[in-house]
Every structure is written in structure tokens, then in C-alpha cells.
Symmetry: C2
Subunit: 432 residues, 2 copies
């Protein structure tokens, strides 16, 4: 006897039949099929900054800190790194100090949950906010695929709110909220990436940030602020994050150390200082409850991985801006090189081909006078040897058909030049 | 304006109001309030086996393996450890070799998903099996709290199936399955721990294992086999796991490296070689789909943490039985010491006080002629200075009221003696 009826895909969680995966599979397949194509698709940090030696050193730095500065002694320090640990994390106070130094965010360790990357942080928040089938979340569109994926796994629907030149279309946000409420549904939060958004490459200016916070108050929704790229802000001074401007606990802040420490640690975090009232008149920060959900999901984030991050924070006096001075210069040079290269090669077609000009981050979005779909990407990879990401992958059924995303984080300036030469040839072949 | 109506506990995921947490909070609180009590409650591995030096060494061992044996060269080896990686894991082939060497399980890397501890593995399987509200899972009762917690977060109900002297009451299993089907519900799987179960301390013999596999066939359900303690089997030879006996892909095997490598890596895995058919006539192993869910949940398990496990596997020729020879002797000595200590101190009351006599694992369950609830634990901690776990925490609303679980993994034989002296005094005070 073999497996019965139950082993059909239709009898597993619905998200598995969702188009998100077909789309991710396709992008991965194309990348694998054309290993010699220049990849302007990958948004990962540059390989050249990876160092195993620094992992060893950071582990020792944090161990010494626990042993001597915290006064735990060697055995208890070792136990903190290698034994089971608290669900909410062990390096929370160090993250709070980093947030004060680099982000102007004043918070405490108990409002922080250390997570398995930012992805788990998104899932925890969305799962917690999904109390019943009326709850929904909104997200700037185009949307980071990790947010869409986490929402599917949490069974909470996502309503898109268009990105405009200010970052979020407030008029669309207001109308989405009101329409949802009129239909008896409950909009809980808006997911937004105010700094150098992936994939739109749009940033919000200060008045837009303040206006969004005001609207969140008025409409009584939370803001889920994701900020993986804020530290890579280029020559222009940084703007305060929504969380730094937040006076009334409207913002749940989502952070990642993948770009600022090392992707392989898989350590992220969230700041959730909202007071949640229970039925017995008590209250705890939302982070307390998210830690509880985490204890059912992954128990705790590897304290070895947390130690790698802690070591980096300790070695840089809690400033990841300082720890990443080389990286920031590298990504800035790459972005400037990409933008200058686009001007040199496509400037004369500016009536037909336009692109965003972000001052930081990893991405640039091109708008073209023709559609660029998966089939076009395949042709471009095959005949021209360059990879990019069709923006339609970050939209719902419609949107982004004539846009593509370029990334400049994972390759050298020389490769950017080669990639742009090839991209120009491809675009010219389509323009003619 | 402050937070509105939405920031009440009742407006967050229902599992957060569940009694599981109150119970876990209580046990943690008691342990914190009586730091000088001897803890026979904690089931974690012994601190004395933790070594930061071995973490450094294992990272280097795996790096060298990738560099030289796999021929990746130094840079690509570093990238494997420190860059983003595939959702399903990077050390899958090494785990498959370990399973062949230590467990007699023949499988391939592509049927394995490397997870953030066994907890994530449980959540992924339960989430995948929960296609709609009719689906449910069964679990041996008393049940490991991690399974109950994961099921709550996955919104899949758990039906208890009593543990009997064979491990699982097959008659109850059959009647649960039939009754559920008669009510239009779909029993998808049974969760079971055949070797030195936590918390019941019961193991299944070979005929019971074969009978359970046959019933899983007949009733068309999966078996979720959790095996954290099988390697600590004492003097008696090991019995084959359900997965080793499984000829028809009935068993999803759940594994943990917390006890056999190091808890702080937070690395576990699952083996899911069931073929899942899609609508287009294709098929993939269930592991393929579980990796997809994982990509939405935690993206991938920290490859640094995976490398620590891989280094241990490489250094021991893939035998964790060999790598744990000291640990196995230690836990065996502790268990024997605990059982002998119980005989010495409570043997004369064997009409009233009985206990399990497992040949391996970390736990012993005592049955008493009086109830032992949370209040009793508190009194015992306060007046007698010894901690244990009321078995009622592992049952539903009823069950285990007159039982307690003792663990012998985290303390020395000297502390076991002190703990047992105190426990005897407490029990005698209740007997009189």
C-alpha cells in the first residue's frame, strides 16, 4: 500500500500553490541556468566583506564581555553562548544601545525580540495581529516578497497601497482603510520601508514621514517599519526613522543584521513597545507576546549567531555605521557608478527610458516603453548575458509590467560596467 | 492619542491566551524564585559538555572540508558559511550520512530540511498538513509541550491518544481516527516519540513499532517520529526507529542536534521523503514543499550554526554515537544513579509510590498516592529545596494529577543524591 489521497499538493497549506513560489523558482532557475551572466538581480551583500576570521573574533569578544564586563565568569559566559536561552533573545540590551547610537531610537531590551532574520520578525507580527478572519494588513506596493510570503503563511490577507513619489499614497491608504472597515474588516497595520525601499528604490522625506505617522494615529493602525538599507544612505544625511519620530507607540520596527553584520548569522530583531492589555488589568509590551509565539516557532534564536552580532556591536562601540564604513563607501560607489553608467549609456533615450535616482540603498528601478516579463528576462540572459528582476514579481496580478529592478550590491564596478553595456544592447534591441 | 481598541490581548492570535503559557510561565517563575533548589525539572543537556573551543574548531573543520574535500576553494567555502543559503539547508548530505551510520535510515539530502531546531520542523509539518479547518493531528498523551505549542500556532487541533505500556494505545488510536472521520474531520498524522519519550519515559518495543506502522498504513495517516533521546539508549541495544522500519514513506522523522552537538546552534532537521503530487502530473518530496514554507518563515537556518553541526559530524566520521561517547556514559550513569537512589529511598513504599524504569533517556516518572499540582511544587521548592515537573502540565484539562517527572540530565550524581534526599522527605511528609 502506498500513500493515499492525502499526499496531494491540494491537501497541503494553500500558500504552497501560490504563484509567489513559481515566481521565485523561475528567478532562481534563470540565475542557475546562466551562471556566466552578470547578475544585477541579486540583492545580497558583497562576498568580499565576508570573513570567517571575524566570526571567530566576534564570538570571543562577546564571550570576554560576558565573562569580565558583565562579571559572569567563564563558565556562565560559555553557557550563555551555547546552552538553551530565553525566547526573546540574549543580546537585547546591546541592540537597544545600537538603536540609540545609530538610529536615534530610545528603547529597552524588553521591547526587543531577537529573531531568525527579519523574516521571522515579520511572521511573528503578522501571526499575532491575525486574531480572526476579518483582520488584514496593508503593504506599500510594489512589496518586498518576504512580507507577502510571511502574510500567506500567517493566513492574513495583504491589501496593496501604491507607492507614490512621497513613498506611500496617503489618499489610497485612507481609502483602503475606510473601505475595509465598511466591509466589516479590520486593517491592523501598514508595512512600509521608508528608506531606499526594496524594490521601489523610493525614500520618504521628513514631511511624508510625519504625515504617515499622523494618519496612522487618525486611522488607529500600526506601522510596520522595515529598515534593512537605512545605514547605506550615501552622502546625504539620514532622515529619522518612523520609530525615532514615534511618540505614541504606533510603529513596530523591523531590523536585520544581514547587511550590516553578516547574512549567515540569520539574526534580525523587532522593536514592539506597544502596551498590550490583558483581561486581568495587566499589561506587557507587545514584544513579550511575540516572544511567546516565537517560543512555539523556533524556541530561541541561536545564541551563537547572536554572539556574532553582539561581538560586532561591542567592537564598534554599538555603531554599525562605524563598523560598516568600508561597506558603506563600497555600496555608495557602486550606486553612483550604476547611476552614472545609466546616464552615459541611456541618457540620450531619456524620453523613453527613465530610472529612479536614489541617494542610497542597493536598488535602481528602470521604466521602459515596453513590457519586460519573465520570457524577456530569459531572452536577455541567454542572448545578452545580464540578469535583472522584472518588477511585476513585486506586484499583485497587475503592475510593474514595464519596469525592471537593478541591484548593485553583489558585484564590482567593473562588472556593473559590463552588465550595463549588455543591458543597453538589450534595451536598444527592444527600442528599435 | 494613544493606542486604540486593537491593543488588547483578545485582539491578538488566540494561542497567546492559551493556558500552555501560563503553565510555562509558572514553571520558569518557580525555578527563578528558588535558584538554590536542586533542579530535577530541567531537561537540558549538562553544562559541563559545552565548549566554545569546539565551536571554533568545528567551524574550521567544515570550512576545510568545503575548501579541500568538496574542492570549493577558500572563498566559496567562506561564502557557503556566511552568505545567504538555500532554504532547505546546506549540510543535508552530511546529515543523510549520519542517519545511515547511526540510525539505519537510508535517505538523501533532498528529502531533508535543516531547521531552526526541532521546533521549527514540527511547525513546518503541522502548518503544511493544515489545509483546512477539518484537518487535525493526533499526539501521544502525555505530550511534549513543543508539539502542543507548534500545533496551536499552526491552528491545527491535537487529539490525544493515551500512552500505554507499549507506548501508544492502538485501540484508542483506531477509535480516534474513526470517530474523527465519522465527524467529517481529517486525521492527518500521529505525533509519537518511540524512544525514551519526553515526558512519559516510555519506549516502544519492536512488535509495537511494527504494529503502529501497520495501523498507520491501514488508517492512511502519517507518523511524525520525534527522536531527541534515541542515542542515549544505555546498555541495551537500540531498537530501529520507525523511520528505519518504514518501507512506504509513512514516517516523517524529526531530529534535533541540541542534545548531541550543542543546544546553542539551534539546528534540527526533518526527513520527509513522501512524494507529493501536484496538479500537473509532477511530484516532489514533501521536504521540497516544507522548504518552501520555511523560506517564508526563517529564509534559511544560519549556515554558521549548520557548520558547527557539520564540523561535529565530519570529526566523528558521521557517528554522533561516537562523538557522544562521554555524554552517553554520563547520562547513563546519572539515570542509573537516579533509579538506584529511588529504590534506596522509596523502595520500602513500593505499594504506594512507583516509578518508570527506562533503560535510557533523561526522564523518570513517579506515580504517587496523592496529587502533585503547581501549589505542591511551590511548597516542595520552598520547604524542601527540590524542583520537579507536575505531569499535569503535559496533559489536557485532566490527567497526570498524581505524577511528577524527574530529569537527571543537567545535574551531577552528587546533586541527584541531594535532590532525592529532599524529594524523599517531601514525599514522606505527604504520605504520613
Amino acid at each position: 500500500m502506498t500513500q493515499g489521497e492525502e499526499m496531494r499538493l491540494g491537501r497541503l497549506h494553500w500558500a504552497l500553490e501560490d504563484s509567489t513560489f513559481a515566481s521565485m523558482d523561475f528567478l532562481n532557475e534563470v540565475a542557475e541556468r546562466y551562471p556566466n551572466a552578470v547578475s544585477m538581480a541579486a540583492g545580497r551583500p558583497f562576498d568580499g566583506f565576508l570573513s570567517l576570521e571575524s566570526v571567530h573574533r566576534r564570538l570571543e569578544t562577546y564571550h570576554r564581555y560576558l565573562e569580565s564586563v558583565q562579571g559572569l565568569g567563564s563558565d556562565r559566559a560559555t553557557r550563555t553562548l551555547l546552552q538553551y536561552g530565553p525566547a526573546g533573545g540574549v543580546i537585547n540590551d546591546l541592540i537597544a544601545r545600537h538603536l540609540a547610537v545609530d538610529e536615534g531610537i530610545e528603547t529597552e531590551g524588553e521591547s526587543i525580540v531577537v529573531t531568525v532574520g527579519c523574516q521571522e520578525a515579520m511572521f511573528l507580527v503578522l501571526r499575532a495581529l491575525r486574531a480572526d478572519e476579518r483582520d488584514l494588513v496593508m503593504a506599500v506596493s510594489p512589496t518586498y516578497v518576504g512580507l507577502s510570503g510571511a502574510a500567506k503563511l500567517a493566513d492574513i490577507p495583504v491589501l496593496p497601497v501604491p507607492t507614490d513619489e512621497t513613498g506611500v499614497s496617503l489618499s489610497h491608504l485612507a481609502s483602503q482603510v475606510r473601505q475595509a472597515r465598511a466591509e466589516g474588516r479590520t486593517p491592523r497595520a501598514l508595512y512600509v520601508m521608508p528608506d531606499f525601499a526594496n524594490p521601489s528604490a523610493v525614500s520618504m522625506d521628513l514631511p511624508a514621514r510625519r504625515a504617515l505617522l499622523r494618519m496612522a494615529e487618525e486611522e488607529d493602525i500600526l506601522l510596520l517599519e522595515d529598515n534593512p538599507y537605512g545605514l547605506f544612505h550615501g552622502e546625504k544625511a539620514r532622515l529619522p526613522t518612523l520609530k525615532a519620530l514615534d511618540r505614541t507607540q504606533r510603529v513596530v520596527y523591523l531590523g536585520s543584521f544581514a547587511k550590516t553584520v553578516v547574512p549567515g548569522a540569520r539574526v534580525g530583531y523587532l522593536v514592539a513597545d506597544q502596551q498590550v492589555e490583558d483581561d486581568r488589568g495587566g499589561a506587557h509590551p507587545l514584544a513579550f507576546y511575540l516572544s511567546r509565539l516565537k517560543s512555539m516557532l523556533t524556541v530561541n534564536t541561536s545564541p551563537i549567531a547572536q554572539a556574532v552580532v553582539a561581538g560586532c556591536l561591542l567592537e564598534s562601540d554599538f555603531s554599525l555605521a562605524r563598523a560598516n564604513s568600508q561597506e558603506r563607501a563600497f555600496y555608495q560607489r557602486n550606486l553612483n557608478h550604476l547611476l552614472a553608467g545609466l546616464r552615459d549609456r541611456l541618457g540620450e533615450f531619456s524620453d523613453e527610458v527613465t530610472w529612479t535616482s536614489p541617494t542610497g540603498g542597493f536598488f535602481v528601478v528602470l521604466t521602459l516603453p515596453f513590457t519586460v516579463d519573465d520570457e524577456d528576462l530569459q531572452v536577455c540572459a541567454d542572448k545578452y548575458g545580464v540578469l535583472w528582476t522584472p518588477m511585476s514579481h513585486f506586484h499583485g496580478p497587475d503592475g510593474g509590467e514595464n519596469q525592471l529592478r537593478l541591484s548593485c550590491s553583489a558585484i564590482s564596478t567593473d562588472m556593473i560596467d559590463i552588465g550595463l553595456d549588455r543591458l543597453r544592447d538589450y534595451i536598444l534591441s527592444r527600442l528599435r
